[in-house]
Subunit: 353 residues, 2 copies
């Protein structure tokens, strides 16, 4: 039996308590300052209000002030915050982490500097941790198609645990694995994280299809533009492979659960697709985001990182101007609020004349 601290009581962090409790582990779920009502609800009724489901009774809940107490004898720390909270989470963990602990992260996003050098989020998470501890903690992440509500409902899910150390991954996998939560491992942390961030961007792109069709038909329609969506999915797969290669990941990583698998599930619905649909229908990004109540849009956030980074890498001569036409246009639409004009003929290396 292991003791696991989960920092962040959002839907995914909380859902992961389910396989852990099923396996007999001690789970301590610690809310962030944004999760106060969630923790109170679980504490008083057992129900996670956004998952709309009772968590297993064995899950112990803590408010943020109790984080240090929750850390006592913890072997595994799950960073359950989303990409917006990663730096904050690193700051919370910094004074508490001890050598030998394992940190497992679930945020999907990406960071870049002014020169277009892209950094994966586990690096951002680790940054505030003092170097002598940081190098003696094992870092890992969960990627792959995994909708939180389905994990909480114990529906079959196949995911990948990724990080530099195979022994750590094997231990983590054995801790989480059940007969419905299936875990594979990969030491290609960079490739897996790039896929996790990029698939949100491209899923937003897939959403454009339906919106553009609605706009053209001058009315909401139950009709679909499947051919359009599928062409974007194929171009997205090609660009994801190029991105992973460019940033030092392994060629096979985009081709299974972390890449096409996760992009499939993300393209079938969710906030990124919904905002894409509004953009396709003709709204500017700020309008579309406001229409949805300005939610967390990890796809849009990652587009705003990848877009300028690709531009800078082009200026520096690292990549060709013809590369990544879809991601660049997503940035034009989302980041620069330019009109949608899908560059079909630039896809797949360019349509022959």
């Amino acid at each position: 039996m292991s003791t696991i601290v989960i920092l962040g009581a959002g839907v995914m962090g909380s859902a992961l308590a389910v396989p852990l409790v099923d396996n007999g582990h001690e789970v301590r779920l610690v809310g962030t300052h944004l999760d106060r009502e969630i923790i109170e609800s679980i504490s008083s009724t057992g129900v996670h209000p956004t998952l709309e489901r009772e968590l297993p009774a064995a899950v112990r809940v803590y408010q943020l002030e109790e984080l240090e107490a929750a850390f006592a004898d913890a072997e595994i720390v799950l960073s359950g915050v989303n990409s917006y909270g990663v730096r904050w989470a690193g700051e919370q963990l910094a004074p508490l982490l001890e050598p030998g602990q394992i940190v497992l992260a679930i945020a999907k996003g990406v960071d870049a500097d002014a020169d277009g050098n892209v950094r994966i989020l586990p690096e951002v998470l680790a940054e505030p941790v003092p170097a002598d501890v940081r190098t003696r903690v094992q870092w890992a992440a969960i990627v792959g198609p995994s909708i939180a509500g389905e994990v909480a409902a114990r529906r079959e899910s196949c995911v990948v645990f990724t990080g530099p150390d195979q022994d750590t991954l094997d231990r983590l996998a054995a801790t989480f694995r059940t007969d419905w939560y299936h875990v594979w491992t990969s030491t290609d942390l960079v490739g897996a994280e790039i896929c996790a961030a990029a698939k949100n961007c491209y899923a937003l792109g897939v959403g454009l299809a339906e919106g553009e069709l609605e706009r053209r038909l001058q009315a909401a329609s139950r009709d679909r533009a499947h051919n359009y969506e599928a062409a974007l999915f194929a171009q997205a797969t090609a660009e994801m492979r190029e991105l992973v290669a460019l940033l030092g990941g392994r060629p096979e990583t985009p081709l299974w659960l972390p890449g096409v698998g996760d992009m499939y599930v993300t393209s079938t619905g969710g906030r990124n697709v919904r905002v894409g649909r509004l953009l396709g229908a003709g709204l500017a990004f700020t309008e579309a985001s406001a229409r949805l109540g300005d939610p967390t849009l990890e796809g849009a956030a990652a587009i705003k990182v990848f877009g300028p980074a690709l531009a800078r890498l082009t200026e520096r001569g690292v990549i060709a101007e013809s590369a990544f036409p879809l991601m660049r246009h997503l940035y034009e639409v989302v980041g620069l609020e330019q009109p949608l004009a899908m560059p079909w003929s630039r896809f797949f290396g360019g349509e022959p004349a």
Copy 2:
């Protein structure tokens, strides 16, 4: 301007008349013996009854008896029949084809002999044609994500024309290409055809997810099992790559429009997914097929070819027993009417213990 004969007035063959007429070509649409009412409807009202849409007035329609007349001066012959009609279509074309003509096929399926040797459908189509003509006709095929109704409605579609001769492909592409019907080319005919057949099988597999969920919840539900679907999509991608490699196609072919792109669109709906859903809900294949009115199920037909072929290739020592766990289980369910028991732990090379 070219003259194109389309043999088969089903939805896809007929939809392809639209970009051709838009480009100013002469299109002669010839119904099979199954298409009599379709041809009569177009002839009298202009409306294609299953596409539920008027075809461009310039399309000339013919009943099957007029096939020879339709062939006069034709440069391109489009075989518009589905996989069930390919051999029949080859027999119709055999006495009429002349050296220098181009045959372009759209059927998606596969054939195999008793030793498990797989043949692609353009070979089946060409077989009845006398050898001296067969070798002087150019053979090609259309693959990629392309729902007929959307092509007929002039919605953006990105497809691949494939065949052994690049000049022929370039000519065909220039004949069909419009500003909404985008055409790329590939000389990997084998890889593209294997993808086209296999994606129907795997789309049927994706349908199982929703059915199995309904069965467990004991009622029809609007709830989904996206994680399950996405895991199957990822395993399907892996198996499609292995199939293409096994049968002599090129590694990149499954990774864009002919593979993941077409599988994406096919997995989002259609008959193969619907029968998969009924199988997931617990019906045996013959019941499920009957429930849908025993329609053309190209996915099921291809599963019944691939399943025994993989078994034979395993007996012959060509492939390992652990290879293709998803396709083999699809055959167990569809071909042998065994209960659904998804072999999750055999996916992706096997889940670590």
